[in-house]
Subunit: 322 residues, 4 copies
Amino acid sequence: MLGVCAAALLAQAPKGWVKGKGYGWIWGAQDEVGALNAIMSPECVRRALSEVKQGRVYDLGVRIDRRSYKWPGHSPIEIMSFRSPHGVKVGKDIAAFAAHPRRLAFHSCALFISDNVGTQIDGLGHITRGQDDHWYNGFREQDYGGDFGLMKADADSIPPLVARAVLVDVAGWKKVEALPGKFAIGPKELEGALARQKIDIEPGDVVLIRTGTLRYWGETGADHARLAEHDSAGLTLDGARWLVEQKGAVLIGSDTSGLEWGGDPTLPVHEYLLVEQGVHIGELFYLEELARDQAWRFALIVTTNRIRGATAGFALRPIALR
Amino acid sequence: MLGVCAAALLAQAPKGWVKGKGYGWIWGAQDEVGALNAIMSPECVRRALSEVKQGRVYDLGVRIDRRSYKWPGHSPIEIMSFRSPHGVKVGKDIAAFAAHPRRLAFHSCALFISDNVGTQIDGLGHITRGQDDHWYNGFREQDYGGDFGLMKADADSIPPLVARAVLVDVAGWKKVEALPGKFAIGPKELEGALARQKIDIEPGDVVLIRTGTLRYWGETGADHARLAEHDSAGLTLDGARWLVEQKGAVLIGSDTSGLEWGGDPTLPVHEYLLVEQGVHIGELFYLEELARDQAWRFALIVTTNRIRGATAGFALRPIALR
Amino acid sequence: MLGVCAAALLAQAPKGWVKGKGYGWIWGAQDEVGALNAIMSPECVRRALSEVKQGRVYDLGVRIDRRSYKWPGHSPIEIMSFRSPHGVKVGKDIAAFAAHPRRLAFHSCALFISDNVGTQIDGLGHITRGQDDHWYNGFREQDYGGDFGLMKADADSIPPLVARAVLVDVAGWKKVEALPGKFAIGPKELEGALARQKIDIEPGDVVLIRTGTLRYWGETGADHARLAEHDSAGLTLDGARWLVEQKGAVLIGSDTSGLEWGGDPTLPVHEYLLVEQGVHIGELFYLEELARDQAWRFALIVTTNRIRGATAGFALRPIALR
Amino acid sequence: MLGVCAAALLAQAPKGWVKGKGYGWIWGAQDEVGALNAIMSPECVRRALSEVKQGRVYDLGVRIDRRSYKWPGHSPIEIMSFRSPHGVKVGKDIAAFAAHPRRLAFHSCALFISDNVGTQIDGLGHITRGQDDHWYNGFREQDYGGDFGLMKADADSIPPLVARAVLVDVAGWKKVEALPGKFAIGPKELEGALARQKIDIEPGDVVLIRTGTLRYWGETGADHARLAEHDSAGLTLDGARWLVEQKGAVLIGSDTSGLEWGGDPTLPVHEYLLVEQGVHIGELFYLEELARDQAWRFALIVTTNRIRGATAGFALRPIALR
């Protein structure tokens, strides 16, 4: 049954997409979802799940703690034991535990954390542009910025994602453990890797690009030097255009902290994808196991936390299902 | 194909479960997963996904912000604009943005947040017991407690969950919008609701119990009085025992902040499920749309953040797929 | 010797002050200090200390913890045990303590705290006005606001204060434990209290006005209802004008959370003192012991934390010396 | 008059001090103040203030921001604009500002901060020792540790300090800008510096030792490498013993982040001063201006924030008065 739905869908481009043009601000003046609108239908969900044959689950999230690699411009990460059995018992500030018949107590943590750490999906309001500091769909800072995060296109507005996804293993194509720093991934490299894998991208697909950088994440990303060495490999503006305008990608991610090629600090890929095309960006997706299993196509399921105002989904655990 | 797997599975109890006894500390001395071990096989994943016929996605998470309803013993929630376009441009502390040719800037947030807010899954180390403050599987505070959260059975150790789930609509059975405060849900109530729904629970199922409380969540749970009025409706120890020992539930959740009946402040259900049985607890799962659609059985997919040490998955967005 | 200095000073108005006009933006375009400039000279320090006869020290700060009374619009207070002996020893993350020969360990706390809690001095950038959001001395948000607090007139720019101060005990004059809510303190009330105390205010003095509210602070300000009952007693705009323009006060404080009369929510006294006159505001100064001892004049010494960007000195411990 | 008091005091040792032995746990079983008890009398306050001749104020605090030098084991520093004029106006969440007639708004900050940063006074509970993790006066973790900081001998229990203080300029004696790393300051070095300065330490004095490290603090301590180069110069255990047992120092501070000699990572000076003697430790006191002016003796006034549970006074602004 699922196969039928997928076939029906393949016969046509996803809603909204125009070859040679991509997506853009086409979903209505108040839209906060962007290109993902194209794959929200039940048919698309069934199509995505039709990739699941074995029932194998891959965890694409990287574990973080206070020492994890991150962009230094973000606020730090602290996971702090807030209530502890000892503290609950000595503190006696909660009646139910002050003299519990079975000596029950509890743990909870307080977190001070950035919404731009760990495995992420950048929300469409992450990047702003111009004198009026507008973001996707023309939302302007003077109208929708605020003290408590974004009032339009925050990470909470990213719908639960059940999508068909394609892995483009550029490191595998180059036969290296991980791409060298500042390796530029453009259309030629993407085509090369796809040819080796004998697959293609279809309109409406999520595209995940492997550089191999996360091979060095280890337990919690503590080896900053090693990670930084490879982390600047990434997608060029030409590569991003090709994926969206020629191939119809609805979300583009990779296993680096910024997706895009580190050679241009002006972030043209972020600007193009988030602001102009309304295409979300995935960062620090762990793709090593998928690559090892040559799992080139799969259902990707990922949900962001329901935190109003957050600019990105952070510390995520996307899963790939085959 | 999926149907076959499910049938095979239905012919036998899930791994580890013993009728009349449940689960318990049976998975090895270092196990941090508990009863969910029973449903981690590819067969179980396929069985769960076999519930998906239409491709409909239900979002079971509730949105939170600084005013959201929560247990007062937890630390507060602040989502703070950390970097803003104005601040980035005036601050000039990041070279790439100090004089950007296209006036790019960005938003990010810093969060101060409890790991026990919003839609949650309590980790198996949340509750401790006894003089030695041990939790599930005998992990003791003196060995595995610490300053940065749990060193055993933290929320990061909760595997990505793709499970078959059953909704038990007790509020629907009682024909009320929401159950009154301190309404006790025991075996009789669960059987009553299941009979009305004409379904049963099978071993290995996730069970979600609806009280109707989240009907009053609104945008972000700001009406504390209204929510508190119903929030103490919940599962009794007898009810929990029946679900685990007679029915084989692997995770039990509801739409209240604590799952269990508010009449007993000593938390016997938390103790029984988390410490004794290794059965995770779901809290503040939004079940209103499922109930409206009489969606009694579905695939439940939920992942917690990959944050080492956290005691619970928080601000989650579980999804139900049909 | 000290007496001579004081006498010399008393013979003239403090630098910058004009009777009938007060202070204002007279200290130069880059000034961040305001009216306190008038009393920064060594002569004024000696004059202040000449009030010290006995060597008695009064602690004017109120102790805070997570439950303390504060304006609900500010961020909350959490003082969290960050490192504990148990956590240091079990965590083994710091070499020096992992196997210490004498079993040394340590405590430290992480604080999540507002810069507007406890005993405070509002910095001159706390309040902004107008379309351009300017504050004292015309500093505008577009130039000096930012992501990390104030870039002009932050609390760090408040100089260490060694000043002569006068207590105006309005509650004592009214013969009440504490003034009733919304009791308005204008020139008449101030004159009444001063007459009872048989003292006057001299130009260059700090003025501290007692309502009696902090009589109910207790350990850490946990009785919010009781405190709120009196906390809206306060200074009217007329009273503030009289103190600055007729009396030459350089800083005006009280024992309430907002100094000013609670009947006008538009904060005219904050606007007048901070923005127009450059006169700092003191809040939640504990004046009970001074009143009990009829200590009407004293040296006031108070320093704010050296935290760049903070908008107010918070959780302060000013001292009165006699 | 003040001179008389000082003379009276000089004729005898301060209360509690025994030459050759120092202070110790002599102030009663519940005492949280330690050696500072010796100088709390009005006579001592007058004696301290008798050092003030000119009325000059020296600011001994260093300014901190998110980049400031600190021990890496402490939690980070973030000073975040919590409410901003733009956010207040756009957010409209506070009635008084939603439509203010004069367009008033405000700034406030939220701070995430360690209680061990900037200019500090270590509280007597900072360091623990032994199997039972006890600190000064035998307070044990099992009785007085907790989730919200220390329940005995927290920084709030440090009384407002008005003390006579002596500067021991070791860097000046060695004729260097700053002492080299791991320079050990023992009795010989202290005596050498005092001889050059032609002063002595009297029982009851605060002693501040200058290494010159803070010459490189700059605006906010951003040059970590330069600071770290000198920061390990410090007091040896012999030096600490000599100051307390032979000279009667009640508080010992310096211009480094840890006071003690960096050559011994087991922190014997912290253990000796805080745990055994009940003598507080001062860190990162800015002594450059005092040294330049050869201000060898002065009144030191310093107060810690009134935050219950904090383990140290942090981001302090002590002042020296001459």
